[in-house]
Symmetry: C2
Subunit: 295 residues, 2 copies
């Protein structure tokens, strides 16, 4: 078996040694927070949504901090069993998988939402990625989510990276209600135009298995006699018996563990890389580490 990349990188202990040699050290506020924070953050069961498909469960973390009304409405729709038995009816390869009620007459029964596609710069713990970005003046992470920022706009917003969960809409920016989509490949030009309210933290491989439509035909809506894959059920984890409820953790930030995870992807020390790649990360190519909560 031929590997294209070797296994886990041995983390260097050089930085610790250098600290002992340093004439003076300054300890930043972030370093103190990092030293005190646990390395993992529990995903709140109220924000953990399971989308059951025939391929496996797609697990989403909602983001009520950025999009409180969208997260609330989606959670309530899930609790009302609105999505059970509906389909991923518009799936375009390398673009998005869209699901929901599909029928305009049914959709119109639900209240439309004022967009929440950006917010004023907050005092949330924003962790800069550390290099440039093609689409936003500054990018980084808040609570594991990819975030763009602009000082001139005094705004911050969630990014259309793979796995982002967002609300579809008509031309009116405030017309979203029930139809959601999951981003397959990065679609950053949609940032600040549509409202992201969560992201897939597990099971993205099952989203990738969904039956595709043809982009040029009815904007990718799967056409009869073909039929999109079914959403067998959606469940808020908080509503499940604790014995069977799945539990996830996202790497906490700021933490040294998160900085180390980025460095391992940015600095390729393994001899496999006989040419050192540029030491940059694409915000959409770096996935915040997620794990099932250890027993």
């Amino acid at each position: 078996m031929r590997s294209i990349i070797l296994g886990a990188l041995a983390l260097s202990i050089a930085s610790a040694c250098q600290a002992q040699d340093a004439v003076e050290t300054t300890v930043t506020e972030a370093e103190i927070a990092s030293a005190l924070a646990p390395d993992w953050r529990d995903v709140a069961p109220e924000n953990l949504i399971l989308i059951e498909t025939s391929y496996g469960d797609v697990v989403v973390e909602l983001n009520p901090d950025f999009a409180p009304n969208h997260a609330d409405q989606f959670r309530q729709l899930v609790r009302d069993d609105v999505y059970n038995g509906t389909r991923f009816y518009r799936v375009i390869d390398t673009f998005v998988a869209q699901g929901g009620l599909q029928d305009d007459a049914v959709i119109e029964q639900f209240p439309t939402l004022t967009n929440e596609n950006d917010r004023p710069l907050s005092d949330a713990k924003f962790i800069p990625l550390g290099n440039a970005d093609l689409f936003a003046p500054i990018v980084g992470h808040i609570d594991g989510f990819g975030v763009g920022r602009s000082e001139s706009l005094q705004k911050e917003w969630l990014l259309h990276c793979p796995g982002a969960l967002a609300m579809a809409r008509d031309t009116d920016p405030d017309s979203g209600s029930t139809e959601f989509y999951i981003v397959l490949d990065a679609q950053r030009y949609l940032d600040r135009n549509l409202t992201i309210f969560g992201r897939v933290i597990d099971g993205m491989q099952y989203v990738q298995k969904l039956k595709r439509g043809i982009r040029a035909i009815e904007s990718g809506v799967i056409q009869a006699p073909e039929i999109g894959d079914e959403i067998l059920s959606m469940t808020v984890a908080a509503d499940m018996d604790e014995v069977i409820r799945p539990s996830y953790q996202v790497q906490a930030m700021p933490t040294q563990a998160f900085e180390d995870a980025k460095t391992a992807k940015r600095v390729r020390d393994d001899p496999f890389f006989y040419r050192k790649p540029p030491e940059v990360l694409d915000i959409c190519g770096f996935e915040t580490p997620v794990r099932k909560t250890p027993e």
Copy 2:
């Protein structure tokens, strides 16, 4: 049905009107070439490879201009039926789908290849993308393939964008032979470290359906009793009867059609975009248009 993006954009005729008003016009060499070139280039049947899976056919265009020895060896392996019945045995979501012979003892029977992961700057028709890139000083396209360029290195190379077909190897840069991988999400840090010798031009959605391994276990190699999806057959289109042989065309370049395709993705005139996105393209997010040859 709620669209997240409206259908085909009406192409503006403003540029034609402006040309009539212009005091003087300069006609560049590229514009002459564009005016003379047909809008589509036929994919040579010798470079068209069909990878049959249970989900559907994955269609590859080889690139013997950038990687002549890799393309030749791969084509010969296909003709020798070496891959028929083998499996995609190492598939990591958002990373790569690797296939081939898997067994080191078998792999060693085939000659290793000197890497062809870059080449001197050529006089091939390089079409600049027109904006910055995170990983390369200059990016653009040659014959539909994403290309990076460096004036200081005097080199150009193919990019690890989704769909790139490349040869796996051991730590020795010249150790690739039979094990290939298809890039799922962009992996640009692999550029100039491994040899890309083709790209998927159709059926990427079937690659996305392949059974995944677990990255943390044996570097993503699918573990028994699980088994990777089978390569039912591989065929060089040139070897098929012309009556049943599939035929593809890639948008030609330089052409106005190709420039228009990029502009349509870069400048979002549709009123759906109530906030205009930055007018940039990610080289790995823009797919060169491909079509089946019209009857």
